[in-house]
Amino acid sequence: MNQYIETLSNLFRTIEHDLGTRDLNNLTLQAFRTTIRQTKMDSLHEFCEKFKELLLAIKSTQPRFAIIIEHFYRLYTFIFELTEKHPDMPWHQAKEKLIHHISELEKEDRREKKQLLEQAKKIQAEGKTILIFDHSHTVQDALALLWREGQRFQVVVAEQDIEKTETIIEALARNNISFQVVPSYMLSHVEEQIDILFFGAVTFKSDDNFVMDPGSAAIIAEFHLHKKPTYMFMTTSKFALWQAQPRHGVFSHRHTRKHTQKPIFFERLKFSHDRVPLHFFTHIVTETGIVSPSAFKKIYKDKYAERKKWQALLVL
């Protein structure tokens, strides 16, 4: 089981790094649909038992991806109800129902994102300079939508890992949005120029921190000092509905690197994510509206309470 969790953790981590959290979730659901199609089970009950193991493994990955856990919880609720209502349902029938339910979850996910983007339309970006950093597809889509709606603004891309920066550049170029790129460590020179900041996140945790791309914390803290309005774009399906772990839980990658020209070897540390306090943000754009940090916290608490009720019911 531990080896399997490690395998899954590696997969999720690399996919999230390349594609972002929401696409990771979509890809996971697609993979699960194909898995169900090919899996051979004797009964729904047997599947239910194996699904519990899978959910446990998904809940144990490092880091934990809340959006995937959320969707697999929803799936489990569905399977649980199915076993309760139709304990003798043949596996081939249950399989079809499950596949259909996954499609419903995917639709719901798309609907949620669409609703969030509708809320994003309320942002007044006309004539402003917007700083972006992470490769959140939601932020890119929000910018594209605002541009299509006729608002004209300038984007400053804070440069980070070249692959991620290039993904952002490609998205901006595709939508004909004017932009400049500034290395992240030189942002102090454009502080005055920046009006607002847009960010996306992997998840939001019970300790009131967002889990974000590495490098986000320093930028957000810097602009927080200058009281620049900072927007977070996040659907509530990304909530981490469990007790947060202390900071040492952040995944790090330690490797040896060689000086490009001289025979000098040194240890290099890379961290998978940053944690950024909720109060550093001025607005949170969700599928239900643009809310303040305190209102956002309340939404989180309500969802957390609801999840606790589920957990008691599902006896995992």
Partner: protein, 436 residues
Amino acid sequence: MDLHILAPIAIFLFSFTLIIFEVFDKALIAMTGAALMVALGYLHLEDAIQAVDFETLLLLASMMIIVEVIRRSGLLSLMNVRLAEFSQGNPFLIFLIFSLTTPILAAFLNSVTVILIMVPLTITFIRGIGFDPKPFVLAQILFVNIGGAATLIGDPTNTIVGIATEMNFNDFILNMGPVVLAAILVNIVLFYIIEWKKLKPISNDLLKLFASHVLIQKLKYNFLSLNFDKAFAVKSVAVLGLTIIGFFIQSLLNIPLALIALAGALCTLFLQRKNVTMHSVLKNLEWSTFFFFMGLFIMVAGVEHTGILNIIGNFLAHSTESLRLLLLIILWSSAILSMLLDNIPFVTLMIPVIFSVQTQLAGQPHTDLLWWALLLGAVLGGNGTMIGATGSVVGTDIARRHGLAFSFFGFLKYSLPLTLVSLTLSSGYLLLRTWL
């Protein structure tokens, strides 16, 4: 013996030893040995230039150009994604698909290119879904070498012999194909039996199946982001297809193989002139291999001038009156030597020897089997150890760079028994041919 006989042999043997132990770059060693033979007057410069088989070099270079353009088209990446998708995450299907695809590709491209593309993908894919990639990679390395034995362009030794003997593409397929196919099938069955625990189906293992499909989805997504150019890929494959058809009908066309390959290479460069530049393609050719071959051809010519190879040929021809025994001696001795040494210099050296044996046995039937015995021994025998074949050396090196280290004996544990099976099959095949 006089110095004119001893010195070229000594230069060759010394260079050969340095090549075996890879003391320096083997192209550098071969060219230095060749230069010494000319500089010390054991071979005239004109003879040295004549000794270089430019037809072989042209054929190799042209095929490298075609393969390089195909590699750039992204087609091989697409093929890998489709294969992974088709395998449905089933370990045995993955094993079967990759093990069958590898020798087929190796037969028509070249073993090193196939290894360079397939091994990293296999390691990423198999490890990504939580399996041990060792048996999969090992099988691929062994099968790439076996597959390369099937055609005139699949392995450099085949190309050298093919051009030297003026045998055509079909001769190789007809003579080497059956035994190569049998060796692949038998090896797959043996692998399946040995590695049953790692290859058994996972259709009722939800966790493993799910991880496999997550990875397959990731591969698909990564591939889609590559901006695959369909027209580019189709044109590249069409040219390769036409070139291979040209090889098949070479005897009808009455055009040298190298010229058919060159036509294919030029055609692909013209068709893809917007996607690839001549300069960038040429930059990626294995130039050191060409210089290695040049040096080797010259050194062998130097040794040939001494007459020693005729003496060896005579000795071999008269060592036994039975052609069958001679075939087995050549097959197994070339196999054992190829397990330990680089088979290219060995085969190059053996060409004049086999010609000499054929001359001694003139009038006897089936003497053409001597060539197949030499090649089967050299190519299949190379699989016996980790250092015996170029594909194995490159494959294990790439695997190590991807965190999958093979020890010499760890590799030998699988490779030697399987190679012995392949060689036994080859022995049976050669003996059977003498009766037909």
